[in-house]
């Protein structure tokens, strides 16, 4: 394998340093076999510039810390091998989220408020009985819930979504997927109406205009398009029920 020399152009800004203007800074690095952006950025920090801020935790694409714009596309940096991308690499922090410094953004706060807004927990009146065996569930159902539970909150869907950028209060694909996850969970006793209250609005599923960038850039390949469509259908149909019921009642009254 021929060794390449990689040129990184990285967005730099330290809001706590008055002498630090936002700028793009270049770093040159020798490529090594199977190098990822994790190895590359760590090398840059340890050998070239110890002040460079970026976030990695698991470096194996399960924690969602390291989403960046790599040449303009939202991606997980740890899972981007340098041999997949051109020699010149431009790195920007994820848009949409508050910038902490350089490539580091505050995804945690956004996702925490989202979880609060969608009341991201199982609502039930059934008490937990430590002495009895667990409630049963079919394996298919468990797998279906797990499938929707796989979101790692990396924020790529929001960074890619023009609607989220235009409307600050939009829940985004991540928030809507979270609702879908509880909607199909038989342990959650919330009714369609309860869910409707949370996401049947223009900040929720009806704020989505179907750009599908979330679907296309999700690093976990979550079925976002299918789930958003499912929520939209379900809630739109639910909205027809009360007026229809009202009309039927009026008719019944006339007839009677």
């Amino acid at each position: 394998m021929s060794r390449r020399t990689l040129t990184f152009s990285i967005f730099r800004y330290n809001p706590y340093d008055p002498e630090f203007e936002p700028r793009m800074q270049e770093y040159v690095l020798e490529e090594t076999p199977r190098m990822t952006l994790f190895t590359a950025l760590t090398d840059i920090r340890e050998k070239l510039d110890p002040s460079l801020q970026f976030d990695f935790v698991c470096r194996s694409a399960v924690c969602g810390s390291c989403a960046l714009l790599v040449n303009g596309r939202p991606r997980l940096a740890c899972r981007t091998r340098t041999d997949e991308i051109p020699r010149r690499i431009t790195l920007h922090p994820l848009p949409f989220f508050r910038l902490i410094g350089d490539l580091s953004v505050d995804t945690g706060s956004w996702f925490a408020q989202m979880a609060g807004r969608v009341q991201s927990w199982v609502h039930t009146t059934r008490p937990f009985d430590p002495a009895s065996e667990e409630g049963r569930m079919s394996n298919e159902q468990a797998l279906a819930i797990y499938e929707l539970d796989r979101c790692i909150e990396c924020g790529c869907c929001l960074a890619a979504c023009a609607t989220a950028h235009m409307r600050d209060d939009f829940l985004g694909a991540a928030g809507l997927l979270r609702i879908a996850r509880f909607l199909i969970d038989p342990r959650d006793q919330r009714t369609d109406g309860d869910f409707f209250e949370v996401v049947g609005t223009d900040e929720g599923v009806f704020g989505c205009v179907g750009l599908l960038a979330c679907h296309d850039y999700c690093p976990k390949n979550l079925p976002l398009m299918t789930q958003l469509a499912y929520l939209r259908r379900k809630l739109a149909l639910a909205s027809l029920r009360p007026p229809l019921r009202w009309i039927l009642r009026q008719i019944a009254r006339r007839v009677a």
Binding site: G72, P95, H123, T124, F128, G200, S239
Partner: protein, 266 residues
């Protein structure tokens, strides 16, 4: 009601039940399970909901603001669908000119005789206006939003986001084009091939972009309805979009060139 609902969003830790600690270091290895807060968790739904269940669910389960959002969303898609259906019927009727000017004139006369056009035109205009109003709710209307959209398009260059931007721009332009087209067509009844041919050959610079935009807008719109509501798979919707666009453009091209030929022949 709304007061109670708000209460539900407040997260509260349950009261301290003060259970005894488990038996001390008794050494037999089998310790009783106690002292944990298994009960009294805030997992319970608030009381109003339970009472509602007991009272036979008399509480309205859905509030009006969200109901409107849902129905407006449905209406947006339905109005778009209606306009697209109209466009294709319109195209089908027009294609009668391919069989000759007489067949189109006969069709025009038929529509005229039963006042179908007079009945349809106001409905169509209403549908058009409704569609415009409905889509404006989601379109980037402020400068800030437009600037953000432009920045995002430049930065990420995502195809579906581009097609949406196309919908916004072509939609705005079509509002002007369609009004002119409706005005000229409806003030010059009955519909006859010669008149149309005349218009096309004189105002070709108007008709070509109009046709391209209207076909593009309708086909992309149908594609977006399909993926938004999950009616087709992504791949299927793409395929359908390309196929539909190709057929519609070919047909429109044939119609326009026929008119142009007819107009030139005069």
């Amino acid at each position: 009601m709304s007061g109670r609902r708000k209460e539900k969003r407040v997260m509260r830790a349950p009261e301290y039940l003060g259970q005894p600690r488990y038996a001390g270091d008794d050494g037999d290895g089998h310790r009783p399970v106690s002292g944990f807060m298994f009960q009294g968790q805030a997992t319970s739904l608030p009381l109003p909901r339970e009472q509602a269940a007991a009272l036979g669910r008399r509480l309205p389960l859905v509030t009006w603001p969200s109901l409107t959002a849902a129905m407006l969303e449905l209406a947006t898609s339905i109005s778009g669908l209606g306009l697209a259906v109209f466009l294709f019927i319109h195209m089908g009727l027009l294609s009668s000119v391919l069989l000759g000017a007489q067949s189109m004139d006969a069709l025009g006369a038929f529509l005229e005789r039963y006042y179908l056009l007079h009945a349809m035109a106001p409905l169509l205009i209403l549908l058009l206006l409704a569609h415009v109003l409905l889509v404006t709710r989601k379109a980037p209307t402020t400068f800030r939003q437009q600037w953000i959209l432009m920045r995002q398009l430049r930065r990420i260059g995502h195809l579906d986001t581009w097609t949406w931007a196309f919908q916004v721009v072509s939609g705005a332009a079509l509002l002007v084009f369609a009004s002119i087209h409706l005005w000229t067509a409806l003030t010059d009844l009955p519909i006859e091939a010669v008149k149309s041919a005349d218009r096309v050959s004189t105002y070709l610079w108007f008709d070509i972009p109009f046709v391209l935009m209207v076909v593009g807008h309708a086909c992309v719109g149908l594609y977006r309805i399909a993926v938004k509501w999950g009616l087709l798979s992504r791949r299927g919707a793409y395929g359908a979009l390309v196929a539909l666009m190709a057929v519609a453009l070919a047909l429109e091209f044939a119609i326009v060139s026929t008119f142009y030929g007819l107009g030139g022949g005069l």
